[in-house]
Amino acid sequence: MILTVAWRNIWRNKRRTLITAASIFFALFFALMMRSLQIGTFDKIANDIVSSYTGHIQIHQEGYWDNQSINNVFDRDEKLEQEILKVKNIKAIVPRLESFALASTGENTKGCRVSGIIPDVENKTTKLKNTVVEGNYLTNNDQGAIIGDGLAKYLNISIGDTIVLIGQGYHAYSAAGKYAVRGIVHTSSPELNNNIVYLTLSNTQELYSTENRLTAISIILNDNGDITKIKKKILKLLDENIYEVMAWDELLFELKQLIDSKQDSSTIMLGLLYMIVGFGVFGTIVMMTSERWREFGLLVSIGMKKIKLMLIVFIETLLIGFLGIVFGFAISLPIIFHFNKNHINLTGDAAKAYTDLGFDPVMVFSNNPDFMISQIYIVIFIVLISVLYPILKLTRLKPAEALKK
């Protein structure tokens, strides 16, 4: 009966209830769209980079990340690699030797990033082979190179042409080598496409005279899970004086900062929006309370405990909130799920802006339930705050005085 009374009460003033529920609906709809798009797009950017290049965690020689010199390398220890692989939730480890060089074809020269990989291992984890758009992927003993399509375009070279790499090797050895271009890749990272040259690990070690040394072990996890926990477990296996272990958000610090700053600004915007809606809900509750004060007096007079009366008012406010939530989700979810499956490809200036930042010009909607649930919590929080007013007022209700109203 309490529920019946509450439900009928909210429809006593249909227009007011609908306007209040609609304000919650619009706020929720806007928040869900904005958050979904933002989280989806940034997750894609981060996941693309993490899965195709950095990995979730990297192990380096202590100090390497701050000073990415070819001298900051460490001896490859396959036994240690096997130990790391035993840590729960680690899918694969990818040894790499990376440095910089000048890539030249005689006519053109460009600074490039040289990445020494074990082709099979790399492909199993980062699916690098799938990014080959022309030519072939490297074999494990290949003497050739695959390069990013942006770099190939800049150097004006194609499959079968030779690329010359010149740089500085380990302990100031000179590094020079020439490699036939086996394939051209197009990854989801425009930055990588413009400067990457992949060689086999052994060729790279030979180029830089590092012998059996690496600059990084990239670690791929089964899922994003608890990276901090896994990082701690890896650290236990290593000598912290020799190695440093970094998570992807430390490796891609600038990207993380960009994501955080965008999210902070949208949080402020949504905060303001919810505040406006909160005042709307509060206004409705104040009016509902004021209009029905005499009725509250009657209910307490005939024997209704104040706590039960508070429960009715609470349920009424919650029902209005739920109306907004139900309609908000009913309209938002199909849109979110549609654009989660069908990404929006940007064109024109928008696409250029994304590409200039080094991102794939694609907008993705996230269907992660976490951010959606948090919006429900916010609406419920608004309802709880708004309902405090009538509840506090009801504690002071004097039936005889209320009946005079």
Binding site: M1, T4, V5, R8, N9, W11, R12, R294, E295, L298, L299, V300, S301, I302, G303, M304, K305, K306, K308, K398, P399, A400, L403
Partner: protein, 227 residues
């Protein structure tokens, strides 16, 4: 049998710096089965007296003992419970719950008492039939006339099987026919079921029906006549 005993009851309202002495040293005993009218001009203190007897307002001084319980000693939530179990109220402005039908309004207090759905429904229909509204059980208050609403209020007051019913100017908003009808119903319930009614009124028709008339003026009992 004595069901209400009022001893040296005083009520002083503080309105700014002015003290209004609404009830002054009233002593009163109400017996089971009485049909009593408390009469007096506006502002004489009759509603204040009724409110205090009903536990809706606290006296400044004095005691109200109902069925040997001094209601001044009850905490707020105990008093609410006490009202639910022992006192029926009929108000001048009917005060029905607008979103509930006549039957649901009558059932509501029984719901608060924790009565079963069937018991509630059976008693609500029986009471509404007793007050002549058997055909209007599913009507909401807005679809009922003033007289009909007040009869629903009487049925609601009876629903909890109270020890007595306090009716604060129950006929003030009713026309002659509705007033006569309502008074007949209440008189019948008093006569046949020995239900105690205490009215505050200045309606001569109610006074004529009452068997005991207590006149109040300036917060004091001026006369107490049993016919």
């Amino acid at each position: 049998m004595k069901i209400i005993e009022v001893k040296n009851l005083n009520k002083i309202y503080h309105e700014g710096e002015i003290n209004v002495h609404a009830v002054r040293g009233i002593d009163l005993v109400i017996e089971q089965g009485e049909f009593t009218a408390i009469v007096g001009p506006s502002g004489s203190g009759k509603t204040t007296l009724l409110n205090m007897i009903g536990g809706l307002d606290n006296p400044t001084e004095g005691e109200i003992v109902i069925d040997e319980i001094n209601i001044g000693n009850l905490k707020s939530s105990q008093l609410t419970d006490f009202r639910m179990k022992n006192i029926g109220f009929v108000f001048q402005a009917y005060n029905l719950i607008p979103v509930l039908t006549a039957k649901e309004n009558v059932e509501f207090i029984m719901h608060l008492q924790g009565k079963s759905k069937k018991e509630r429904a059976d008693r609500a229909i029986q009471l509404l039939e007793e007050v002549g509204l058997g055909e209007r059980v599913n009507s909401r208050p807005s679809k009922l006339s003033g007289g009909q609403q007040q009869r629903v209020a009487v049925a609601r007051a009876l629903a909890s099987k109270p020890k007595f019913i306090l009716a604060d100017e129950p006929t003030a908003n009713l026309d002659s026919e509705s007033t006569a009808n309502l008074l007949d119903i209440m008189e019948k319930l008093n006569r046949e079921e020995n239900i105690t009614f205490i009215f505050s009124t200045h309606d001569a028709r109610v006074v004529n029906k009452a068997r005991r008339v207590i006149t109040i003026d300036d917060g004091k009992i001026m006369s107490d006549i049993t016919k």
